[in-house]
Structures are given as structure tokens and as C-alpha cells.
């Protein structure tokens, strides 16, 4: 099996995509809500990713 070498951002991005898809599917009752919730979850992941990234960058000095 080929080896995958990803940066922190790429790995966290992939993680967010897969998790958001599943969260969207299993939590809501109709397709519109599922898409909305999946997108919302993905945006939350991205905000946390960039927010924590900047926090660590600024905290590091």
C-alpha cells in the first residue's frame, strides 16, 4: 500500500471532511438539514483548526 505523507493541515482537512459527512447523515431527519448540518460541522472544524493554529503561533512568540 502506498505511503501517504500529509501536512498537519491536509490531515486535519481530510479528517474534517469525512467526519462532517457522517455527522450530517446520522444526526438529521431530512436531506436539507443533513447538508446544512454537515456544512456547519465542517465550518466549525475549519474555524477551530485555523483558530487553534493562530493561537499556537501567537502563543509561541
Amino acid at each position: 500500500m502506498p505511503k501517504m505523507n500529509l501536512s498537519h493541515f491536509e490531515a486535519a482537512f481530510l479528517f474534517s471532511v469525512f467526519t462532517s459527512v457522517v455527522m450530517g447523515i446520522v444526526t438529521k431527519n431530512n436531506d436539507r438539514d443533513r447538508v446544512q448540518y454537515g456544512a456547519y460541522t465542517f465550518i466549525c472544524f475549519m474555524v477551530a483548526l485555523f483558530g487553534l493554529g493562530w493561537l499556537m503561533y501567537l502563543g509561541h512568540g
Binding site: 469525512f18 447523515i25 431527519n29
Partner: protein
């Protein structure tokens, strides 16, 4: 005066109605949804969970063994093992085909380990969803 309406507890559906969907959902990610004729959702679950697991393998993530010791060691190893096993056929196939990656340092390996566990945990969510559909609590 507001009247508090107590939500009635739904009776448990017979095991025969949901057990096949849950069991197939464990073995094949999204399999429970396929059995219940939710093909689109089943396909999305299959693709998302399988992709996550395969990415974990390609990142050379480590599989957990159910070791016990102090509370934190037990929690991490047994919890991680449960997460790995919850991926069903993906876990079984990778173990049968000899995947045995030691836990090594590096962020890619670390992410890989997390991808493998989370793929199983997401499959548990899919199994719960299949249970709710089979039990008639959800569309």
C-alpha cells in the same frame, strides 16, 4: 401555568427488527442503511468511513491492543481497540492481511492512528442511525 408534558418513553423494538441492520452495519460501513433501503446515505457512509480507514492505513497508523494497567493506559488502549474493531470488515481484513504497524513517532503516524480509531467510531454512529431507522424512530 405551563403544563409540563412528559415525553413518553418509547417501547424497545423487537430485536429481530433491528439486529440484522446493526450487525451488517458493523461488518460493512453503511451496510445497515443498504439493508433498510437507504442506499444514498449508505453509499455516503461507506465512502466516508472506508476512505478515512484507508487514509489511516496509508499514513501507517498503529492499531491498538487491549492492554490494561493504570486507568489512563486502560482507557486509551481498550478504547482505541474498541474503535479499531468497530470498523468491521476493514479492521478484520487489515489484520488478516498482516497489517502490523508499530507505534512510531511522527505526526503522520499519529494522525493515521487517529484516523483508524475515528473511522470505527463513526461506524458506531452509523450503526446507531441504522438502529433508529430499523426501530421506526427515524426516517
Amino acid at each position: 401555568m405551563a403544563v409540563k408534558v412528559k415525553e413518553e418513553k418509547q417501547p424497545m423494538a423487537p430485536v429481530g427488527t433491528w439486529a440484522p441492520a446493526v450487525a451488517l452495519g458493523w461488518l460493512i460501513p453503511g451496510g445497515g442503511h443498504f439493508l433498510l433501503k437507504r442506499t444514498g446515505r449508505g453509499m455516503l457512509l461507506l465512502v466516508a468511513i472506508t476512505s478515512m480507514f484507508v487514509c489511516g492505513l496509508m499514513m501507517r497508523g498503529a492499531m491498538f491492543q487491549p492492554q490494561t494497567g493504570d486507568l489512563l493506559t486502560t482507557l486509551i488502549n481498550v478504547g482505541g481497540f474498541v474503535g479499531d474493531v468497530a470498523a468491521g470488515i476493514l479492521y478484520l481484513l487489515s489484520v488478516w492481511l498482516g497489517y502490523n504497524q508499530p507505534d512510531t513517532a511522527g505526526h503522520v503516524h499519529d494522525y493515521g492512528t487517529k484516523f483508524l480509531v475515528v473511522a470505527g467510531l463513526l461506524n458506531i454512529l452509523a450503526m446507531v442511525d441504522a438502529f433508529e431507522i430499523a426501530a421506526g424512530r427515524k426516517e
